[in-house]
Symmetry: C2
């Protein structure tokens, strides 16, 4: 039990009534002398009085909190995404309750319940949820609006769209234009919708050029640097001229494996990633990738959920954000 400084402590020290303190701190200070107003503000500072939030929450039935579930805070994509959320939340007097689920279903449920228990006003879920309809049910029953990114919603809802299918198309066209026909793909073993769309755009584009990529050239692993590193041998055995890593973390893991195998990027093998995390400029050679506006994606998600919290009945919004190819040094021109 904390012994938080209370409004009563403050009133006692100032030798005025609790009502006086309350009115002054709520800006209704025209009824009081300048001296009293000044004294109260000074004492508040001196005594470190902070209004009790749980009491306010209970009355408002709002914790001014947005629960945020991401798969992996160690991926720089998500740390920027979180900063975007944080920045918009703060402007609006909210705070994000940030949880990293590490793709662990038990953690996921634990955090979901904690968010509800703590009166989160809304949720942004960016991690792969094992059972979306279960979550839809429990959040709906508690009247908590939520926004799913990176996965298929159960029903229509607000949406931040970064056209993953198109991102896959761009990369495929780029590699084809550079003369690459034999390509290996490295993706998540439990891909979310965004990854599936990325891959579909990529495969469809190859197919439309009569260059189909067979299923055995698509390797699944954990969506981390280590996951990419671990499948390097498998990828190299395929004798491809290029690799499409479904995100930059995977690509950086493959870089390590390729270097350890004594091969050179892009002379011996080319590689492209996805996300444009800051690390892509720090590896050698720098990585060609698709830029996703991670900060803006977080900020947009926060704006959408806050608007939804204010008005449950507004029409569903879809925010489309642009992506673009960032050409660096990891792809060789073959022709």
């Amino acid at each position: 039990m904390t012994k938080k400084v209370t409004i009563t402590d403050l009133a006692r020290r100032a030798n005025v009534s609790v009502t006086t303190v309350s009115q002054i701190l709520n800006g209704k200070d025209d009824r009081f002398s300048d001296k009293t107003v000044k004294k109260i503000h000074q004492l508040q500072k001196e005594m470190g009085y902070v209004p009790d939030f749980n009491a306010q929450s209970l009355i408002r039935r709002s914790g001014r909190t947005i629960g945020v579930l991401v798969p992996n805070i160690n991926n720089p994509f998500f740390s920027h995404f979180l900063r975007g959320i944080e920045s918009v939340a703060m402007e609006n007097g909210y705070i994000p309750l940030i949880f990293g689920s590490n793709n662990n279903q038990k953690l996921e449920s634990y955090y979901l319940f904690e968010s509800i228990r703590r009166a989160a006003d809304g949720m942004i879920i960016a991690s792969a949820i094992s059972d979306v309809s279960y979550i839809d049910n429990i959040l709906n029953q508690n009247g908590i609006p939520y926004l799913l990114t990176d996965q298929a919603p159960v029903a229509e809802g607000d949406q931040v769209d970064v056209n993953n299918y198109h991102g896959g198309e761009i990369l495929a066209n780029y590699l084809i234009q550079k003369g690459h026909q034999k390509v290996a793909v490295v993706t998540d073993q439990h891909p979310t919708l965004n990854l599936k769309q990325r891959l579909a755009g990529f495969l469809d584009t190859f197919k439309s050029h009569q260059l189909s990529i067979s299923a055995d050239r698509i390797i699944e692993t954990e969506l981390t640097k280590l996951g990419g590193y671990h499948v390097t041998d498998q990828v190299l055995k395929m004798k491809s001229t290029a690799i499409f890593a479904l995100n930059d973390e995977l690509a950086i893991g493959l870089y390590r494996g390729i270097h350890e195998a004594g091969l050179k990027i892009p002379d011996d093998i080319s590689i492209v990633g996805y996300d444009d995390i800051d690390l892509t400029e720090y590896v050698t050679p720098t990585l060609t990738t698709i830029h996703q506006p991670s900060f803006e994606m977080g900020a947009s998600a926060a704006r959408l959920i806050l608007a939804r919290i204010q008005d449950r009945h507004r029409a569903f919004q879809r925010v489309a954000l642009p992506i673009s190819l960032v050409e660096r040094q990891s792809v060789k021109t073959l022709n």
Copy 2:
């Protein structure tokens, strides 16, 4: 305002009293028929009823929350540190309120106040606080225990100690033994205590070998990859044989600058870092550094603050965790 499912909703659906529901959900169910107990549990699940936390918090005056302030969640060191905190917090029914201050004093204060307002039971502060005695004052007045890592406390307190001075000594001895005498140092422009200690151990060791490093060879920058990258030219002008980067992020920034300058690590210049973040194994060449047990540091900090929350009067504890040199490929032997 959320329309959370209430205990009254549940009681109404079950056609029993609120007291009955409350007792059953609190495990006092021996007075009731198996059928009733089963029905209540089933309805709880079906209706998605989650007990209201703010009401409980208000009674307990505890949010079962630990406020955590870190400088930069984009640094993998801190994402592992946070996972350590998270893991211990969860085991004890607490959650961490994670805030990235980005070394911004305004954000720092905002988050500090939010933690108090939300009845945090304790705080772990790992970011550089501009005014420690101010924070000590406000947290003390509100009866909130806190633990500072990486900086000097105003008074004696619980402590997680990873002997930064010794880490600096180890690196200095290693470089000297490898034949490096002309060394440049890259550090934070606003170094926290841990960085100062690291540097002191390093400089003292050089001095004790009659190889003192002059102040103009110590370059200050922002403690990020970009900060390291930006000072590369300045560092290279010094014609040193080796660089000591005060953390791995700085080192990885310098890698980029050195590569862009057309130089090779370690053939042209050697470099060592500090922290042993996962990236040190993914850059080329792999980075020699000091391993810090980041996850365990977070877990220990959480254990200490939880013990302090339980008992304000227990003797101060100091947990010492080991560090070690991880020799990789970024240092050349000169003799």
